[in-house]
Structures are given as C-alpha cells and as structure tokens.
Amino acid sequence: MSLTDLTATELLAKLTQGEITSVELTGVFLDRIAAVDPTIHAFLRIDRPAALARAAEIDARRASGQPLGALAGLPVALKDVLCTAGEPTTCASRMLENFRPPYDATVVARLRAADAVLIGKTNMDEFAMGGSNENSAFGPVHNPWDTDRVPGGSSGGSAAAVAARMTPLAIGSDTGGSIRCPAGLCGVTGLKPTYGRVSRYGLVAFASSLDQIGPLARTAEDVALILGVLAGHDPADSTSVDRPVPDYARTVSKPLSGLRLGLAREHFGEGLEGQVERAVREAIKVYESLGATVREVSLPHSKYAVATYYLIAPCEASSNLARYDGAHYGHRTNQEAMLAELEIERKALDAAGDTEGLDRLDNALVRMYRRTRSEGFGPEVRRRVMLGTYALSAGYYDAYYLKALKVRRLIRQDFDRAFEEVDLLAGPVTPTPAFRLGEKVDDPLSMYLFDLFTIGANLAGIGGISIPCGFSAEGLPIGLQLQAPPFEEERLLRAAHMFQTATDWHTRKPPAI
C-alpha cells in the first residue's frame, strides 16, 4: 500500500512514531501530483521546493524534540481563494492572475502554526461561483472517477485532489454547497461548518453572509483533526463567533447513542435521481442498524431556497466584486488601446452628429473600469454581477433583495423547527452523480438547481457534511448529507464517523488513475 492511500490520521501516527519523515511524505504526494494532475488539473500552483523545505524544517524540529503543532508534517492543499502572503492568490480568475496578497488568511496562519505543509493552491470555479468547476479561467478540473465528468464546484480542485490521493487534506469554501457538492461527486468527506465557526479573514469574498471555510479529507476522523486547527474566534472577523472549540479529534470516535435522524420530505421528491435516492436510503438503514431512530420531517420552504440564494448571493457578490476595477490591484485593461477605442467611438458619433450619443459616451475612467471588468471576469461572474446589480438597483430592492432576506428567515425557521424533533437531518447532497463536462454550461438555471439540497444550510447558517455512501451504476460516487443545528460540528463528525466505521465507501479509490 502506498503512503498516499493512508488517511491523514494514519500518516500523522507514522510521522509521530518516526516511521516516516515529512520530507518523504511530502515528496510522495508531490510525485503523485506530478503523475496525476496533468489529467485532473486540481492544482493551480505547486511550489515543490518550498513545500519540501518546510517539511525539512518540521522534520528537524521533530528530530530535536521541539514541540510541534497538531498537523506537524502533513500536506494540506488550499483552495486558491485563500490569501497566502506573497504568493499568487488568483481565485481562478484572470482578474487576479498576478495578485499576491501581502498577508495570510487567518486559516492559513493557523495551518502554518499547526506545522502543516502547504502543498499547493487548488483550482476552483472563478471567485467560487459555480457548481461544476468549469468556470475556472485556467481550465476545468476533471473528476478522478471519470475524467469526462465534472468534479463539482466550486471547491472542485480540493475535492479532486483528495479523491485522487494527491493530498490527504484540503481546504475549501462553501457558499451554497461548494465543499459538500464536490465532496459528494468525488467521493470524499467534506464539512461546511456553522457560519462564524471559522474565520473568513483572508477568504476572498463571494457572498459574505453565506461563505464559510471548511476541510475536505477522506474520513470524518481526518476532518475532525483539521477542523480543530481551523475553528475558533478571530478578532479580525466581526462575524466569527467567540465560543469554545471542542476537541473534535478526541470525540469523533465516540458513537452517538439514541441518535434521532430526520429525513426532510422535500429532499426526496422531484428531481432526485433514483439511484441517488436508493443509496441515501441504504445509508439511513445503516444508521438504523446502529441504533438511530428515523423520522420524516418537513422543511416547507425548501422549494424557495434556490430562488432565495440566487438573489442574496449575487447581490452580495456584485458588491464584493466591485473592488476589482483595475485601479488598485489586479488586472487593468490596456490603457492606450482603451483610449484609442474611445477616440474612434467619439469620432464616429461626431461624424454622425449624434450629440446625445456623445453625451452618453463613457469617460476614460468609466471605460477603463468597464473594459477591465469585462476582460477580467468570466461569463458566470459577469452574469452574477449583473443579476446582483439589477436586484439591488433603485426600484427593485424590495421586490428582490428584501424579499429574499425575508424568505431566508422562513428557511431558517424551518430548520429550527425540524431540529426540535431530530438531532440531525439526513439526505442527498446532489440530485444526481457527477454530470458530464459541458453538459450544463449553456443553461445557468439548471446549473443553479443542482445546488438545491445544499443551499439551505448556507442560508440558515448551519453546518453540513457530505460523506460517501455508495456508487451509481456508472461507478460514480454518491454522497450522503448530514446537517446539524448551529455549532454542532461535533455531532456531525461523530455521526459521520459512526457511518464510516460501519461502511467502506470512503475507502474506495478511483480506479482510472
């Protein structure tokens, strides 16, 4: 068995016992990336010498008996939406192709302090907008289980990297399912924590009230290990919550007794593919066999979640992305070409005697902004910026944005009520397994509807986890989603671990690569 097939927890034990060094381990994963990633394209950037130097430094400290952090020597891949000081942080966008933030995101600083080896930055949908990873300006990620298919998005690079054994641990971000969906489609374990559990400082914002950083790994045990490092209050993020962080790694292996599972009736209806439903229902039987009780509950406003989300997220995004205007950082259009273009337009209008047109003609600054942004953003980002700008504009605010905020409250109340009766909600992650690359690119709405089971957790601010629970006839992974009341990550992880002790879906390896 190769080292790359071991879980993070197993690898950490070997490192601690001195059976392997971090340099060896990091080298093995870097070699694996070199061999596999040309097919998968999970990474946007690898700095092999830097990773090995860091591993060597940790090995040296271990050898001299110095105290080490919780992840000492383990490789971790970062979604390229997390700021890394002095290193490119692109968000898979032309806009930030050459952007090097002068600071580390809080989670990056925490990982460094825990002595993780940051192995590379992973591919994603541009600015985390997308569910298929086809929106990367630098090319799509391929699903390791079938490279003609999408890995899910937007943290598709992180999920594919874990699934293809290129890293034991990866970090993603989840705004509407961006950790859970690719985890489900790639057959790995991915957690979206409660909003406020992990600091967003240094996470390039997509939709600030929905974004949350979380880990992807092969097992719940590994997720627990790294969540303990990521979670906690950060004075630099006003929305990070100051409450104690449980020792997830210690409690994850304790089974839950008397677990009450709820199945949301609305998540088993129309749109859910039969083989996905069958796998999820089988998984629920496993829980019953482990002593859980199961009951049906209702989330009556579920059918409004996608519409609510696709107003709130674009509104916030249109504002968060206003800063990319070519003035202070990031891409700027060619100024001479821009001025020349304006001059041509001016002359044409002049010649036509179109005074109104001349009056309406952009000034140089406005044209610089418009060209910069149109060149720097891909189609999906442009679409969401347009949608959000429109929905917030004069005369539409109440009908769209405000309405969505109110429905958001109703959706949250649905969850609150459900959790009065059950400990966890169980259901599918996505309506179907991974679809083919290109299948939905021309139909944004059908792409959006793919998020329908994951979006609710973001709107409500609660935690959710995706764990492998079976395979489709084509051999594609199927995910089970568990959702918990706010700040019950411990419960999610313990429940996920129970399942993984009783099943082996999470140990399966993509055969093709």
């Binding site: 202070h328 700027r332 610089m368 942004r373 109110k406």
Partner: protein, 97 residues
C-alpha cells in the same frame, strides 16, 4: 418580471461591465430566465417576516482604538497596475466618475 435589453444595457453601466451586442443578447435571455424563476418567491406572504441579513444573531463587535502598523508603501502599491512609487495612477478623474 421580464427584463429588457435596454435595462440590461443600463445595468451593465451600473455594474461597470462592457457587453458586446451578442453578449447583451445572451445576458438578457439568461437574466430573464433567472428572474422568471425567482418570481417564485412572490407567492409567499412575507409582510410580517423580519428580514435576515446575517446568518448569526450577534451584535456589538468592536476593536479597541489602537494604532497598528500600516503596510509599507511599497507593499501597498506592489499589486497596483500603475503607480509612481507614491500614488496609484488611474485615467483622469476630472468631472464625475
């Protein structure tokens, strides 16, 4: 609520995007689809519902009024597409933005 090509054009200025005629066409159709879909929300009576702008019920988060080191100017300007070692440079901002 359908959206017209003219409206899309207006929004593209508000959003500081430049769309070609073909892009304007596609954008109008796609935004129309999405806006048609979100119309679903109008069937809900939300008159008495408090809007939920934050996922958290937290208030009064402050920092103390302490000065912390700023970035070196070089570091601040390092990512600027155009600068003169002192200031960011942009096309003239005479008149309005």
């Amino acid at each position: 609520m359908a959206i017209s090509r003219e409206e899309v054009k207006k929004v593209s200025l508000l959003a500081r995007l430049q769309l070609s005629d073909a892009e304007l066409e596609t954008m109008t159709a796609q935004l129309g689809d999405i806006l048609g879909y979100v119309e679903l929300l109008s069937e809900l009576d939300t008159d008495k519902v408090e809007p939920m702008a934050h996922a958290l019920d937290v208030s009064n988060v402050f920092r103390d009024d302490k000065v912390r080191a700023s970035l070196d100017r070089g570091e601040a300007l390092a990512n600027a597409p155009k600068h003169d070692d002192e200031c960011y440079r942009v096309p003239a901002v005479l008149g309005d933005g």
